[in-house]
Symmetry: none
Subunit: 194 residues, 4 copies
DNA sequence: AATGAATGAGGGTTCATTCAT
DNA sequence: AATGAATGAACCCTCATTCAT
């Protein structure tokens, strides 16, 4: 790669990184100028690398989805498969809590393509979860509920806490604060008592 | 009431009604001009009745909260208290599904006062639910979970379906489509098997 | 005069009175609605009596000029003619200081007709003053200066204090506070020492 | 300075220049759009260079004050100190007569900061004048009047002519026309006859 | 590749004036 | 005569996007 290309890639990365931070903090309605300032580049440079603001958001969500996909480990057969999945899930989200909250909270501001990508990520997670649940049914009595529903209950609970962060944990991370309670509550709900 | 006042109230109501529809359809970022057009009045007329766009939204949310509050019946002591509550809850939401979705999905665009009113409504519902749960514990074995968590699981599940309406039910009402499944799933989760 | 006409005149007077107060306090850019509120009449009523806001202002200035004209006494031949004139002048202005300040300070907001009327008033005063000065020259040595200039110096000094009221007397009346100092200074300036 | 910066400065200067002219001609209530048109730039460009209309006015008054301050020469000890001061004063004002008239006539439309700056300029002039008067008392018999009053009489006289420009000199410069008469009148007033 | 000044289509809000009642 | 709801032109300001350098 030539020096020129390296330079270009660095600028692009810097913009992506700062856009991620600015959008996380101020939402997707944040002006592109703010991103340029944060990245230390000119306003126009953003549009050299991304044809529109929408395009920038798409790339951002693409990267984010990719990162999440690679981080979410799916421990298939295991006596604690579900619990491990939940713990891992929380850990992954916590790392980018703010951005994740924006994604689920400002869904309608997203370009179609971005919305679709994030949706696919969730579907993929749902499928992984379904697989784990199926395997786990052997070693643990679980409520007789479709695995889709089991996943939706879980993600619904988590998203509820995330979207109401200012209510549950105005300062620090919601996930950090409620991680254990959410997991234990959920596990308690899905298991069948002896 | 004189004809004059009636006329005025009609205009005001028309604006409120159209604002409700426009915001439901396009979100709270929709231009006030769109509302004026929908209501068949001039742009300025909106500001005759509502000092600012924020004020308009506040009135809208106030009315909405009031309507919801008066509609949500709380059947206290009853063998099917919880189920009745859930059924009623779904019915109430279904009637104004779109607007409700905007409220939970664009929380950050709301004026503080509106956000607070809607929050209070939810807290009030949470309290009602807690009361019902406590009473129900006599006649039905329930999972050993704090009633707050029980409520949050329920509302998290419902909101998840609402916020992803385009996924679950792009055309018609999400609630109508999933009402029974959501209720039965939830009831199955919280009860203790014999 | 029929009762109806009386009623009409009363409303008209009330509007004029309140317009005078509102304009005095907030300047001629004050909304007509404020005047209607102050007068306890509907917004439209103003335009029943005055075709435009400009017309209202014109009537106001007409009345004001008339009142001032009738109040300014011109003590012709007298050993203290000038001093008496100045004292009287200050008294008259002081009574409607606020409005007077608006007239000289927002001259450009006035309709042409109003500006002209106020101008005529000043010219009339200038003439009166000139007459007095001429008579006084017999009993008192005065600077050898055209009487126009003598008047302009005086009125310039007074207007300067009025226009900078917030500097000289932010709370109370400027004239009240500086009346004597202004008069004595001026008299000292125009007389010839022995 | 790069060509780019030059270009920017030119635009900025052009806006300032045209704003100066438009405000001079139509007063500070003139729409920013008029300024944009006069400067041959788009409406938005104004707000690229000045965050608000108020900011634009502040810069304008700042520049103006600075220019005046640097132009007003204070010939301290001199047998003709006062006269020189007056002559210089008139010359300086004459150069920007229209704008100066707006400043004193629409004081209340100015942003606080601008009003304060202009006020300071006048105070500074008053002080300079006081110093000169003190020195002059040696070589010339002056009326026994506080120097504040002497200054206020002068500035009051000048401002009176400026504010009534349409009366005294509707077409050309008031100052040009009355400069000598104002100065000689004033000098005649303040001196003590032998 | 990067710059950043310039653009211009909106957006919310104000207010003198009109007119049906 | 009085009402006051309705009008709509005008204003200030924002911001994604363009383009000459």
């Amino acid at each position: 790669m030539t020096t020129r290309e390296e330079q270009k890639n660095q600028t692009r990365s810097k913009i992506l990184k700062c856009a991620f931070e600015v959008f996380s903090k101020n939402g997707f309605a944040a002006p592109t100028l703010d991103i340029a300032k944060a990245a230390g580049v000119s306003h126009g440079t953003i549009f050299v690398h991304f044809s529109t603001k929408e395009d920038l958001i798409i790339q951002l969500v693409r990267n984010f989805s990719f990162k999440l996909r690679s981080t979410i480990i799916v421990p298939l057969s295991s006596p604690k498969g579900i619990e491990n999945f939940l713990i891992n899930y929380m850990d992954v989200i916590q790392k980018n809590e703010q951005f994740y909250i924006r994604l689920i909270g400002e869904k309608d501001l997203l370009p179609d393509e971005a919305r679709l990508m994030f949706l696919n990520l969730q579907l993929s997670n749902a499928r992984s979860f379904a697989t784990i649940v199926k395997l786990q049914r052997n070693s643990m009595k679980l409520k007789n509920i479709p695995s889709t529903m089991m996943f939706n209950t879980w993600i619904g609970l988590v998203h509820y806490y995330l979207l109401n962060k200012d209510l549950f944990s105005p300062k620090g991370s919601v996930i950090k604060k409620y991680r254990d309670e959410l997991i234990s509550t959920y596990l308690e709900l899905i298991r069948v008592q002896d």
